[in-house]
């Protein structure tokens, strides 16, 4: 079978949480292989980790200050690896960097971009991906008609893991890359070791809206989330009002989530918010306005004051969990 290349992103020697899933997806469509870019050294340590996650080969580009350069080293490395491996497909994650690397690679390697994929079937020329459109209103099946498929994969799309493999290091050279570089001079990111699960992959999401009223009172959302072991989200209105950071925004222009349980607190449910959460399995809404559109899609809704209903709910959850 032909190789399927994944891009393994890493920070400070740690592979991105999605790496194992990307290799599992690659194993559906062919022989999994990984591509990494490192600032120095031969990448042997990361390659060993990638081997244990299923990478048969690991293509390693070593180039000074790769971690301080935006995207272009990874594009060059993926292109060099595509030339060396002649893969039947390329799979990357759904973070902004990976999506943009896939976009540039589609141009450079003459491939077909298949973005925001939530399922992969078949291999070689018969590979088909599933996607959603308009906030989960439509299911889409798409293929690469020309060139190799270059896929960005949503988290929690593929189950299982690839069998452990050798992780054989194959050095690749990107010294000849001529793309103008953009420099990263500072990183201001929260680590993945945050105590709460990440919004995109959490099983339960508790989101707050304008109804919370202030940044201080938004803590109510966090308290319910913590009692349930849930991720915290927010509507655009709550983000625009400054209650929480933009990274928590769920909706048309924020994160799209499809958790098992979504609890909306003080969120009216504008169509743009629903576009980011309506594919949740179960939706609970608590809001004081009975006419809120969120109630049209809620499996269980409470018309009431979140500041009296939610504390009672938290107590009941705690009592249940003991």
């Amino acid at each position: 079978m032909a190789q399927v290349l994944i891009l393994a992103q890493h920070v400070d020697g740690e592979l991105a949480a999605s790496t194992g899933e990307l290799l599992a997806a690659a194993a559906i469509a062919g022989d999994p292989a990984a591509v990494i870019v490192v600032d120095e050294g031969d990448g042997a340590e990361l390659a060993a980790k990638l081997g244990s996650l299923g990478a048969q080969n690991v293509y390693v580009a070593s180039t000074p200050n790769a971690s301080g350069t935006l995207i272009t080293p990874q594009v060059a490395a993926m292109h060099a690896a595509v030339q060396a491996a002649s893969p039947s497909a390329v799979i990357v994650g759904s973070d902004t960097d990976s999506r943009e690397i896939a976009a540039r690679l589609a141009v450079r390697a003459d491939g077909a971009l298949l973005h925001d994929v939530e399922g992969i079937e078949g291999s070689g020329d018969s590979l088909v991906v599933s996607q959603q459109a308009f906030g989960g209103s439509y299911s889409v099946r798409a293929v690469a008609a020309r060139g190799i498929p270059i896929i960005s994969l949503r988290p929690n799309s593929v189950e299982g893991a690839a069998p452990a493999a050798a992780g054989t290091v194959i050095p690749i050279d990107i010294a000849g890359d001529t793309a103008p570089a953009s420099t990263i001079s500072g990183r201001h990111e929260k680590g993945e070791q945050s105590e709460r699960p990440s919004l995109q992959t959490a099983d339960i999401v508790v989101s707050g809206g304008r109804g919370l009223g202030s940044q201080e009172k938004f803590v109510l959302v966090e308290q319910l989330a913590d009692s349930l072991g849930a991720a915290v989200g927010a509507s655009r209105a709550a983000v625009d009002a400054g209650y929480v950071d933009h990274t928590m925004q769920v909706g048309q222009t924020g994160v799209t989530v499809s958790p098992t349980l979504y609890i909306a607190l003080g969120i009216s449910g504008a169509i743009q918010h629903r576009a980011g959460m309506q594919s949740a399995k179960t939706i609970i809404a608590i809001n004081k306005d009975a006419d809120s559109p969120i109630f049209d899609i809620a499996d269980f809704g409470v018309v009431g004051d979140i500041f009296t209903v939610v504390p009672q709910l938290i107590e009941a959850v705690k009592a249940r969990k003991g």
Partner: protein
């Protein structure tokens, strides 16, 4: 400084958005508006122009005749002129093809800065700005929530899933902006009147020099094979809080084995 800003008509996100099951493309027969993120991109282009005297802003779109409305909106806000890429042979283009057409139209016009929204509300691929940088050999500085241009240096904060990065590049560059970047100005009455007189270059497939067997939906790299509308979500039980609603929610969660 010569600034190009990319604009696009999309189905109104406040309305019912549909995919045409026959063509498997976005149904554009309903209400179409300039994408909100494009208005913000135009705002950033105008602010950059105002801070760099002697600058010019060109609003660029690709699409059928009606798409010109998005360029006119940008002109009414204050852009100086426009480019409208319009050709039936481009219908159904994917992102790879759209970026090829945009690159062909923008190349050799001496642009220093190309500004786009980070992703459209209809396709949401967020791919065209990166592809355009790739094709033009420009620096790429995308997903910016702040932007500063100082001489030939452009810098800003790039939004990520867990925070932001400080990023810098040299012109010429392609930048894309996120919705935090600025509030778009409203066109003035005078702006609306003068927009009608501003020059918009009509560009056809022949002008772009692209091979006919590479353009349009019949030759796209990615192809949609099937589109299925998911059943609309039904509302469930709605109760009015009688003092026990919190407990009732917990009971619902327990019954559904969610806690």
């Amino acid at each position: 400084m010569k600034i190009a800003v990319l604009v696009k008509e999309v189905p109104d996100t406040w309305g019912d958005r549909r995919i045409d099951p026959a063509t498997k493309r976005v149904d554009r027969s309903g209400d179409l508006v300039i994408d909100e993120i494009n208005e913000k991109a135009v705002e950033v282009a105008l602010l950059t122009k105002e801070a760099n005297s002697g600058s010019e802003v060109t609003a660029v779109t690709m699409g059928p005749h009606h798409a010109l409305a998005a360029v006119r909106k940008a002109l009414a806000m204050g852009a100086d002129n426009g480019i409208h890429i319009e050709d039936d042979g481009l219908a159904g283009s994917d992102a790879v093809q759209t970026s090829a057409a945009l690159a062909a139209a923008l190349r050799d016009r001496g642009f220093d800065l190309i500004i786009a929204g980070n992703e459209s509300t209809d396709g949401r691929a967020g791919a065209v700005p990166a592809m355009l940088a790739e094709r033009l050999g420009f620096a790429q500085l995308t997903f910016l929530r702040t932007l500063a241009v100082d001489g030939a240096t452009v810098s800003g904060e790039r939004l990520t899933a867990t925070g932001h990065l400080d990023v810098t590049a040299q012109l010429p560059a392609v930048v894309s902006v996120t919705e935090q970047i600025a509030e778009a100005r409203f066109p003035s009455f005078k702006g609306i009147l003068s927009a009608k007189k501003k020059k918009v270059d009509a560009v056809s497939l022949g002008d772009l020099g692209l091979a006919g067997d590479d353009t349009g939906g019949a030759h796209s790299w990615s192809v949609v094979e099937q589109v299925t509308e998911r059943p609309a979500r039904q509302g469930g039980t709605i109760i009015k809080d009688d003092g026990t609603a919190g407990t009732q929610v917990a009971e619902f969660l327990i019954a559904a084995k969610l806690i």
